[in-house]
Symmetry: C2
Subunit: 332 residues, 2 copies
């Protein structure tokens, strides 16, 4: 039996379970010449998928209604009529939320489970790590001794950004939503300071206290009022990497916030949207560094692993309540 | 007699005449060794001066209360004990709102009234032209055939930006507040299209109509809701130069607008604050081009010249009602 998850409705506001439809098909897939049959092992759920559920134009096409949702997936080859793949190989790629599927192999990368755990290829050695490394370096252009603030700091991307900041000699401050996460930032990921936005009575002043020389780089995963508070603390020539805006992905109306323009003028500061797909030519360099630091144990990562194909939609929805620490993946 | 204008109160909201104090002193200034005595000829009034009237930290120091206000001024040397200056020379520099003053000559540039009218050295060959040229090129990085939108298009900086856009082969759209200004943009300054934000019922759609291929560069002089409307039309990798935010300079509360971050992420777009003083090493290159194009009549400019020292404050205040076309200067 093959299980598939379709997009049933375009979510209004926060997605709900009823926006997804499960179908079970009693078919068996037979690979044609040049094809492989693969079985899903790990499914990545990511905040950016929310944007693909709308029918507005964006940097990647919208999902179609009543069609399978796609995300980063690790799968095992269980049948091969393609000379590039053998039964037992593990592959990574943008695949459908299905327990099994056919592929020509196009766009799939083989991944080596002896070098790193399979799920790492969806996280620190996948889009997550690439986003952290390339966003920080290509837009942030860090200089030794500068101060970096990361929002969504305990999330998949944020926790890597902070560690990279420490490797590069920055003063690193993380913003996250629970005391447990703040503790993790400081103990596991080596951040210099952490601010809990749920218990802080004045985020702006709390940032000023731990960034007495001001903020040079802000890696923004969240948007909204947290980002407004950071703006008050930026230095001249600050660089702000807009990597995500999870705080507003579910808004049904256009979110409002303080106007950033006067801050940018005053400080000659730069704010730039970052989409990792635009930096594909830099992937090999990034992966080389990330896997090197991972092997040297200069980098570590956290995962929230949810079990079971049927829990993919709820794991995705839980992202918007910050229920994950580090990368959220579903193990099939 | 020497007349001086002091900052009496820090304006709350829009400045009013009562925020300024006129004093008349029956003294005669005597230049010491190395000094020159100069007489004010033209005074530049500029939106950015509003920021210096607050006591918040910014990129240039605040004006002090009960001290003379300073801005760009053209003056004539009427007495010289400095070998670098002769009586009759004209100089340009940051000087006090006084009819006469002493100077060591430091920071003053000699200007040649045979090459261009004196007031041009406060405008197209001064800070205005430098801001237009360097902002457009350093941040906008224009590419032949791209579409440029300029807000505050009939203002001092905007009218030069649009003309430079045409010289560089761009499709240039200006946004301004009266039909007379829109007419001027198209007839005098060569803009391809103009939008009157006071009569448009949907600025966002009106931009889309004249920018069918989207907006690649937005030179933002105004901020606020006009800029929000432009954001809906930006292309991938758009560059947004935040040069000013005259629409919010007088706000007493922090202005709110739609969150720009989701737009920047979706489009991998860049938004950067621009302050001309940070690009001083590029001034000679910019002036060379600007004066060349001016001589070739590829560039023209508009001025609103107000007469009389006593009208400096009201000329300044009128900027915020858009009463100027092109550069606003006061002739003494």
């Amino acid at each position: 039996m093959i299980k598939t998850i379709l997009l049933k409705n375009r979510p209004v506001g926060k997605p709900s379970i009823s926006d997804f439809e499960f179908i079970n098909e009693e078919t068996s897939l037979i690979s044609g010449e040049g094809e492989i049959l693969i079985e899903t092992v790990y499914v990545s759920v990511d905040p950016y998928l929310r944007g693909r559920m709308n029918d507005t134009k964006s940097y990647i096409p919208s999902f179609e209604l009543n069609q399978p949702i796609q995300s980063g997936i690790i799968a095992r080859v269980i049948e091969s009529k393609n000379e590039n793949f053998e039964v037992g190989d593990f592959v990574s790629g943008m695949l459908s939320w299905k327990t099994k599927q056919l592929s020509t192999g196009e766009g799939l990368l083989k991944v080596d489970n002896t070098k790193a755990p399979l799920s790492a290829y969806l996280g620190i050695l996948g889009m997550t790590g690439l986003t952290a490394y390339l966003g920080l370096n290509q837009i942030g252009k860090p200089v030794l001794g500068e101060t970096l603030v990361v929002s969504g700091a305990a999330g998949a991307v944020g926790s890597v950004v902070g560690q990279l900041g420490k490797i590069l000699g920055l003063n690193v401050i993380g913003i996250a939503g629970t005391d447990e996460k703040i503790d993790l930032l400081k103990t596991k990921f080596g951040f210099d300071a952490g601010i809990n936005y749920n218990t802080s009575t004045n985020i702006k002043e709390d940032i000023a206290k731990v960034a007495p020389n001001g903020v040079d780089i802000y890696f923004d995963n969240v948007g909204g009022s947290i980002s407004d508070a950071v703006l008050f603390n930026i230095n001249n020539f600050a660089r702000i990497i807009i990597c995500g805006a999870i705080s507003v992905y579910n808004n049904t109306e256009l979110p409002k916030s303080i106007s950033v323009q006067p801050f940018l003028v005053k400080k000659s500061a730069l704010m730039q949207g970052f989409i990792v797909f635009n930096y594909a030519e830099k992937y090999p360099e990034a992966i080389k560094h990330l896997s090197g630091w991972l092997a040297e144990e200069k980098l570590t990562y956290a995962e929230t692993i949810v079990d079971g194909f049927e829990n993919i939609p709820s794991a995705f929805i839980d992202l918007f309540d910050g229920k994950n620490t580090g990368k959220m993946v579903v193990k099939i």
